[in-house]
């Protein structure tokens, strides 16, 4: 699924929490409906600083009569996102998207578990919404484990609570919800879930995904994870955003997060490549 280049107009760009921004953008109605887990490469139109576009996952997408709106949830982590955070209403963006392979919802089992770290809640929100609306999942079949560093970093919960009844919030410092890393909290519940009737989806920092791999190893859970890497092109050309992935024979291959991912099977990721 190849992207296309659009000019987007910033409608809102609001700081929801410290360093966490929700940007609403208007794009042309020709923008293809994104699949949950897909992303866009965005840059400020006409500006070459920062040099590279920034990959940001799509939080929501709405088709209106003559245009579309898209929400991007992002955390200020460096120069690029710092500049994005300064954009005001009416600013123009160059948007390449939708890009990448989103979550595969073709064979979701009857119980669905979602695990997120920080801003990783964004693509999962869109996924849950899609499952609820399109696939007719009831909220009682879904369990969400959103983890944050602290109460001051909590984002996206309002929407999550509307979509999913069973939300187990946790924070590293215990300022809200249960205290502990989300993977530890989830591990305590692990025996409730059976691999043959459970699908899992996760998104978060690399360390969290790695910890999740350890929690689930050596079980047979089908867990799809969305990964993040520094990216130059987003279209599969630069080979810059690779991660180590096992192929069918078990040998290491470097796969592109942009076009082979960003969603991968957790079991296929090799964590200690040399």
């Amino acid at each position: 699924m190849a992207g296309h280049i659009y000019i987007g107009e910033v409608l809102e760009n609001e700081e929801i929490q410290e360093d966490c921004f929700l940007m609403k953008i208007r794009v042309a109605s020709s923008f293809e409906n994104p699949v949950p887990g897909q992303f866009v490469m965005i840059r400020i139109a006409g500006l070459h600083e920062p040099f590279l576009s920034r990959p940001i996952s799509i939080y929501s997408f709405t088709r209106h009569e003559i245009y579309c709106t898209m929400e991007l949830f992002y955390r200020v982590v460096g120069k690029g996102t710092q500049i994005l955070a300064g954009l005001i209403e009416g600013s123009q963006l160059e948007i390449n998207g939708p890009l990448g392979n989103g979550f595969d919802v073709s064979s979701v089992k009857k119980k669905v578990v979602f695990i997120s770290g920080g801003i990783g809640i964004a693509p999962l929100s869109m996924l849950i919404e899609t499952l609820r609306m399109r696939e007719n999942f009831s909220s009682s079949e879904m369990v969400m484990y959103p983890g944050f560093q602290s109460i001051s970093a909590v984002v996206g919960l309002e929407r999550m609570n509307k979509l999913c009844r069973d939300v187990h919030v946790c924070t590293d410092d215990g300022t809200i919800g249960e205290k502990g890393f989300v993977t530890q909290i989830f591990k305590k519940d692990l025996e409730i879930f059976k691999p043959e009737e459970t699908s899992m989806f996760a998104c978060g920092p690399r360390g969290m995904i790695k910890a999740l791999a350890n929690v689930l190893n050596p079980s047979n859970f089908n867990c799809q994870v969305s990964l993040e890497e520094r990216m130059a092109c987003g279209t599969g050309a630069c080979m810059g955003c690779v991660v180590a992935i096992k192929d069918e024979k078990g040998t290491l291959n470097y796969k592109r997060v942009c076009t082979d991912g960003p969603v991968f099977k957790l079991n296929d990721i090799i964590w200690d490549e040399t």
Binding site: A2, G3, M239, E273
Partner: protein, 308 residues
């Protein structure tokens, strides 16, 4: 409105005929198909594909890229599917287009360069070879072939002996005197010379005091290197008589025109494709506009018209 007649923008790199002087640079345009959804590949001067080796290459472990001021560092390490898979899986797609296909080739030994050249010469749909003797990110071959005039000449001869296709040799800027290498490969039979590949650089993460790239060093590309590239192209065109292709940090039509004016017959667009997949088409159109504005009927009329 008065209709303007479109200027002639076709150029020749020796025997290689291009519809226009805008080529894509190896490693920045995949195997062409990655950009086919964005632009009409038929409107390019040439497509230079990702560097091909005899066997598939895994490439370097990540992180492989880092943004820098006015550019980026990369240490991809020539990850590629290998020459045979290219011929079987990628070339049929490219044959649908009328645009010249240039296969960039890489070897760790003279014999590997020879075998890759042999296979591509026997394949249908390859119009020229570009010999990569300048990759800074691989431990064997690549750069080491490009830093010594005698070795660079020998690689050129090895490839020339295996092919009847035009042979372009791509030079590294990471040498003391690039004209010495250019003269050596010209004497060895190179049909054209392309330059520059990336400049070796590095970047440090101050939180961890580790390099941003796993490979520690990487190749710098982007607008930051354009003045260096332009200077080197100018130096080389004064010394050689074979056609020269200018590469390095070209982002705009004006950048491309500067290279043509100093004497490059064509240009390659690299890193700019990453941030704007439409950039090659914008550059083709911008060159046309410049010619129309200057009432110049043929792009060849501006090549080498530099007034120092």
């Amino acid at each position: 409105m008065k209709t303007k007649s479109s200027p002639d923008i076709a150029v020749k790199i020796g025997r290689l005929k291009l519809k226009n002087p805008v080529m894509t640079a190896s490693g920045t345009f995949g195997y062409g198909e990655e950009y086919a959804g964005y632009i009409d590949l038929d409107n390019l001067g040439a497509i230079v594909v990702k560097g091909l080796s005899l066997k598939p290459r895994l490439g370097n472990p990540p992180p492989r890229i880092m943004e820098t001021t006015g550019g980026m560092l990369n240490a991809v390490g020539l990850q590629n599917i290998g020459v045979d898979a290219f011929i079987d899986e990628k070339l049929p797609f490219l044959r649908q287009y009328s645009t010249a296909v240039v296969a960039n080739i890489y070897g760790e030994t003279y014999d590997e360069y020879k075998k890759v050249a042999q296979r591509l010469s026997a394949a249908k749909g390859v119009h020229a070879l570009e010999v990569n003797i300048s990759c800074p990110n691989v431990k064997n071959g690549g750069l080491s072939f490009g830093c010594d005039p005698e070795i660079a000449a020998r690689v050129t001869r090895v490839v020339k002996n295996e092919t009847s296709l035009p042979v372009i040799v791509k030079l590294t800027p990471n040498v003391t005197d690039i004209t010495a290498i250019a003269l050596a490969v010209e004497k060895a039979g190179a049909d054209a010379i392309s330059l520059i590949n990336t400049l070796t650089g590095m970047s440090v993460d101050l939180k961890t005091r580790k390099p941003h790239l796993k490979n520690i060093t990487g190749g710098l590309s982007g607008p930051a290197i354009k003045p260096v590239a332009l200077r080197m192209v100018w130096q080389v065109v004064q010394r050689v008589s074979v056609p020269v292709i200018g590469i390095g940090g070209i982002m705009t039509p004006e950048d491309a025109l500067e290279f043509l004016v100093v004497g490059a017959k064509a240009v390659q667009i690299g890193t700019a494709n990453f941030i704007n997949p439409l950039v090659t088409m914008e550059i083709v159109e911008g060159i046309k506009d410049y010619l129309i504005d200057g009432k110049i009927k043929d792009v060849n009329k501006i090549i080498g018209t530099f007034q120092p």
